[in-house]
């Protein structure tokens, strides 16, 4: 809109894959949206050299001629924020995929435009401001029930300020109807726009001291991150990144999920679309789709739009955070975004950094993860959080590459997936020796207060056992299991049970895909109690092989498949039976 009086229209001088250049563009700004060619493909200015502007194009550039017009549109790449996002599926530049389908059929055409938010839907607004009120960015103007679980708080745009002159009465409005007028004449609507590459302002950041719970035992117990924290999930192909992201999207304790499918498979998105509407949010009982926004730019969609997709996703997430919700962004895969940066950079003939990635890769990645956090929202005393979980796809599964390393420096959790575990179908294939969380210090107080008793101590015991197991395994690999004492072999056995019963969790199991804190704690408690009881028997000179022959081991192993509801009762029984069975082994007299 900046150029509405003197539109800037230049001409294409270069077309090189997803990157184009145009002359005659004097006055265009960095980051500005341009319409490229007669087909009016959408692009974004990424370099200015005098009157020549270089742009990355979010659609396929095939068929363009040098000389075709390029028009600068005035705005930076922005998204529409307002009711109607939840349950939606958008491409990287926030076009609803359903609208694209209506426009061009089952295969995506070019040069299509569509509003992100439907202009006809009427929303029932309950105003929250009155004439005379002073408002600033983030003030709640009113509320709209967007889905049964989510009350959408209509926010004054971040830069708005002034005194309310007029407010519409409670009633039905479309996203573009004026609902509040300010003294200077400014008109506010149910929606506003925000440039995606700019973080939305907050009042202040808070320490991340509540856990981001996932229903995954290995994560909640051994490597929990905080609401407002950030973690990466790196792993070679087939190790389970996507299953982790999708499982968290189903079961985590966030109110709103933004799932960004960036440069990955179309069928995986179809999977989410067919599965989520039929699944219920474990906390509200509502369809999962009603708390989910999908941003999809699959691997065969234009590469530059991958860059747009991660920013579109995180901006939508910030918007719900600003309403006071806990929001989680699942980005699968951040490596494909980094590769898009690399491709554009190489077309611009920039000096490459490590492995051809641009030298600003680490700055971009850091900026991205810095948009996570737990905050006091702008314009009110609401608290919201934005948690980020980024999948990373390292070439050859080798974590020493730049995207993994760069991301590690700016995140607090590493959930390292391991091909060796995946090959043997140990899922989730999270390597317990390699993974870590930096959030323990902040979270322990919460776990102390809210988790089942003994949670922290059990976690430490389990970690020590696993550590000891790793050392003993090395010995076994050198000299065989015969060289170990019974109490050492017991550690191997218990660790094996921890791995198979506690750490493994089948995402497709009816009873075990989600494990409540109570179930997780109970399961670990049972295994550790078994360890203690076994040690006692060893001290009484009962041989390990007799202990291991006890059928109760199988009952312990099967505890995992007991549903969350029946779990406490069944565990009590098994622990009881286990103690009795072991006690009977003690030699009489």
């Amino acid at each position: 809109m900046a150029h509405s009086e003197h539109p800037i229209v230049g001409n294409l001088t270069l077309i090189s894959g997803p990157m184009v250049a145009a002359g005659g563009m004097l006055g265009v700004t960095m980051g500005e949206i341009v319409r490229v060619g007669n087909a009016r493909l959408m692009g974004e200015v990424i370099r200015i050299d005098g009157a020549t502007a270089y742009a990355q194009v979010f659609e396929d550039t095939g068929g363009l001629y040098v000389g075709e017009p390029v028009e600068a549109m005035g705005d930076a790449l922005s998204v529409e924020l307002g009711p109607g996002l939840l349950g939606g599926t958008f491409d990287g530049i926030q076009r609803p995929l359903e609208s694209l389908r209506q426009a061009s059929g089952d295969f995506i055409g070019r040069g299509l435009t569509s509003h992100a938010l439907d202009r006809r839907t009427k929303w029932h607004l309950v105003p929250r401001v009155a004439p005379g009120d002073e408002l600033t960015g983030g003030t709640v103007l009113g509320t709209v029930r967007e889905t049964a679980g989510i009350e959408h708080r209509i926010l004054a745009p971040p830069r708005a300020a002034g005194r309310v002159k007029r407010v519409v009465p409670e009633g039905e409005y479309t996203v573009t109807d004026t609902i509040v007028e300010l003294d200077g004449g400014a008109a506010l609507t149910l929606m506003h726009r925000w440039p995606v590459k700019q973080a939305r302002p907050v009042a202040r950041k808070l320490p991340p001291d509540r856990p981001f719970l996932t229903g995954q035992r290995v994560l909640d117990c051994l490597f929990p991150i905080a609401l407002g924290g950030a973690a990466i999930v790196p792993g070679g192909f087939g190790t389970g990144k996507t299953v982790v992201e999708q499982t968290l999207a189903k079961f985590c304790n966030a109110d709103v999920i933004v799932y960004v499918g960036c440069g990955e498979r179309g069928n995986e998105m179809a999977d989410v679309l067919s599965e989520f509407p039929a699944l219920n949010d474990p906390r509200t009982g509502e369809s999962l789709m009603n708390r989910t926004v999908l941003v999809v730019n699959t691997s065969n969609m234009p590469v530059a739009a991958r860059d747009a997709s991660v920013y579109t996703g995180i901006t939508i997430a910030e918007y719900y955070r600003d309403q006071g919700y806990d929001v989680a962004v699942m980005a699968d895969s951040t490596s494909r975004w980094a590769e898009a940066l690399r491709e554009i950079s190489s077309r611009l003939e920039e000096m490459p950094g490590e492995e051809g990635y641009p030298t600003y890769l680490s700055a971009r990645v850091a900026e991205f993860y810095e948009r996570s956090g737990r905050v006091v929202c702008a314009g009110g005393e609401r608290v919201g959080s934005l948690t980020l979980v980024g999948a990373v796809s390292p070439p050859g599964g080798d974590f020493s590459e730049p995207v993994t390393q760069t991301s590690l420096r700016v995140t607090g959790g590493l959930w390292a997936l391991d091909s060796a575990l995946a090959y043997r179908r140990h899922y989730p294939a999270i390597n317990w020796n390699r993974s870590y969380s930096l959030y323990f210090a902040e979270l322990d107080a919460w776990f102390d207060e809210h988790a089942p008793a003994g949670w922290i101590r059990q976690r430490q015991t389990a970690m020590q056992l696993m550590q000891r197991d790793a050392e003993l395994q090395e010995v076994v690999q050198l000299v065989g299991p015969d060289a170990l004492q019974d109490n050492e072999r017991l550690i191997l056995e218990i660790s094996k049970m921890i791995r198979e019963v506690f750490l493994q969790q089948n995402a497709f199991s009816d009873n075990d895909a989600f494990s409540s804190l109570e179930k997780s704690a109970g399961l670990l408690e049972a295994l550790l109690a078994f360890h203690d009881a076994c040690r006692e028997q060893l001290d009484r000179e009962v041989s390990l092989s007799r202990i291991l022959d006890l059928p109760i081991r199988e009952d312990l192993a099967r505890l995992r498949d007991v549903p969350n509801e029946a779990f406490a009762e069944r565990t009590r029984q098994v622990i009881e039976a286990m103690k009795t069975a072991l006690a009977e082994l003690t030699p009489k007299g």
Binding site: G63, L97, E554, R558, D561
Partner: protein, 481 residues
């Protein structure tokens, strides 16, 4: 990219037959023209050499002062003074009609079966637009290949892309031809079509494939695009796209169940690397271009099903792993895109196991969609998980034994060892016999009987009671299906 030498098509505009003589630069498979304003990017050009020889080029990049053109048949013999350039088509298109079934073409879609060019119903851009993710339908129809390691452990479904990774000298082609033959007998004859895209394979391999596709009596249901090792390398960049364009056309406009076999993707990637190095691009890992992931995705993602349509495109890309290395960029990037992979093992092959499929690194990501009650059998998923776990453990024990000797193993360890041996010999090494899925699963239960029942904690107790006990008692395959 049908050639129309005999029947020139009427010019779309006056540009078509205008000739230009401004080649400025020739390098590797590329030529540069001194003006980039005349042709759109992606356009197909004719290059006529002084000798009268005609070659095809495609515009890769255009600016005011130059157009970068890749020459499909290579630049050998081209000079800058006497080569005429003209527009052939504004994009690479292929003629399609249902009569394409039974035809054979070269790697860029020109007939090589002695028959006249196809009378086109429609001409389609071989670049292919992306299927809108919301239009995709979930692939879930089980394809019974008769091969235990696939059906039982890495189930293939219609609409999946499942490559075969193999080292040089392993019988991958035999495996692929078995799969194709079995898939064919399962489908309604009228609707099943094999589309074969050959990139840089030998005369012998090409002949083997064609013969084996035809053996099932389905020769007339095959469409082949064949670029042999002796054919121009750059043409290979077009071959899979021609094949997939025809596959999509048959699947989504004519309701066919299409199985696409692409062999060998490694040769395709070599051609891609050749172009990249001629363009002096900054090379990525091992010299392959940084955009290889995106390029391969534009091929592999062209598989699937579409809501409301009955047809499907299933892809079996064949891919030879240089130096048996699964972390090499070609298998690595492929595995990141495809819905799993079937990995062949040299060790098993040496021991005479056929088909030598190593199930541990193999994976079918869509397996869960295609198996279970009503699809294959109720016990399938848990049984497969349990067999995987036992086999992986048995392999660990085998490794351990090679260090510490068999005597150091516990009795239980020895059972796992024996399980792994039997699994490889019987389950994997089925030879050329065909096994129904029920037989594969029954054999699985039989093998599990080597392991004490208490160890089988990956399987629900009810299933164990029903199947394991049955087999322990009778020792014969159970009749359940």
């Amino acid at each position: 990219m049908q050639t129309h030498e005999d029947h020139p098509r009427p010019a779309r505009n006056d540009l078509v037959h205008r000739e230009y003589w401004d080649l400025t630069y020739v390098t590797g498979p590329l030529v540069f023209l001194g003006n980039g304003e005349r042709f759109p990017t992606g356009a197909m050009l004719d290059l006529v050499l002084d000798s009268g020889e005609r070659r095809q080029g495609q515009v890769l990049e255009a600016s005011r002062s130059r157009a970068v053109v890749q020459v499909l048949q290579g630049t050998h013999g081209i000079d800058v003074k006497r080569t005429a350039v003209s527009l052939r088509q504004d994009a690479a298109r292929i003629a399609a009609s249902k009569d394409v079934i039974g035809r054979r073409f070269n790697g860029v879609g020109d007939p090589i079966d002695g028959l006249p060019p196809l009378v086109a119903d429609i001409e389609i851009d071989i670049g292919g637009a992306a299927i809108n993710p919301v239009s995709r339908d979930k692939p879930s129809d089980f394809i019974e290949t008769g091969i235990s390691t696939i059906d039982g452990f890495n189930t293939l479904v219609r609409g999946q892309k499942l490559p075969i990774f193999f080292g040089a000298g392993l019988p991958a082609n035999e495996l692929a031809s078995l799969i194709v033959r079995q898939a064919a007998t399962q489908s309604d004859a009228e609707e099943f079509v094999v589309v074969f895209g050959a990139m840089g394979i030998t005369e012998r391999e090409a002949a083997f494939f064609l013969r084996s596709f035809e053996e099932g009596g389905r020769g007339s249901r095959v469409v082949a695009f064949i670029n042999k090792a002796s054919d121009p390398a750059i043409e290979r960049l077009f071959t899979p796209r021609c094949a997939l364009t025809i596959a999509e056309y048959l699947a989504f406009q004519h309701d066919c169940q299409v199985l696409v076999v692409l062999s060998d993707m490694t040769n395709y990637c070599e051609a891609l690397r050749q172009i990249a190095s001629a363009r002096e691009e900054i090379p990525g890992r091992r010299g392959y271009p940084g955009y290889m992931y995106t390029d391969l995705a534009s091929i592999y993602e062209r598989a699937g099903r579409i809501r409301g349509k009955t047809g499907s495109v299933t892809q079996i890309p064949m891919l030879s792993m240089p130096d048996d290395d699964i972390t090499h960029p070609i298998p690595d990037l492929t595995g990141y895109i495809t819905e799993g992979q079937i990995v062949m093992s040299r060790g098993l092959h040496r021991r005479g196991v056929f088909p030598p499929v190593d199930v541990l690194p193999s994976l079918s990501r869509l397996m869960n969609n295609g198996i279970g009650e009503g699809l294959t059998r109720k016990d399938h998923r848990e049984l497969a998980n349990q067999l995987y776990a036992c086999y992986a453990h048995g392999r660990d024990i085998r490794k351990l034994m090679s260090i510490v000797g068999e005597d150091a193993l516990t009795a239980l360890d020895q059972k796992y060892l024996r399980f792994a041996e039997s699994f490889e010999a019987q389950m994997v090494g089925q030879g050329h016999t065909r096994r129904a899925i029920g037989e594969t699963l029954d054999l699985g239960w039989q093998l599990l009987s080597i392991i004490p029942k208490e160890e089988l904690t990956r399987i629900n107790k009810d299933l164990i009671d029903r199947y394991y006990s049955e087999i322990m008692e009778n020792g014969v395959p159970s009749p359940y299906i």
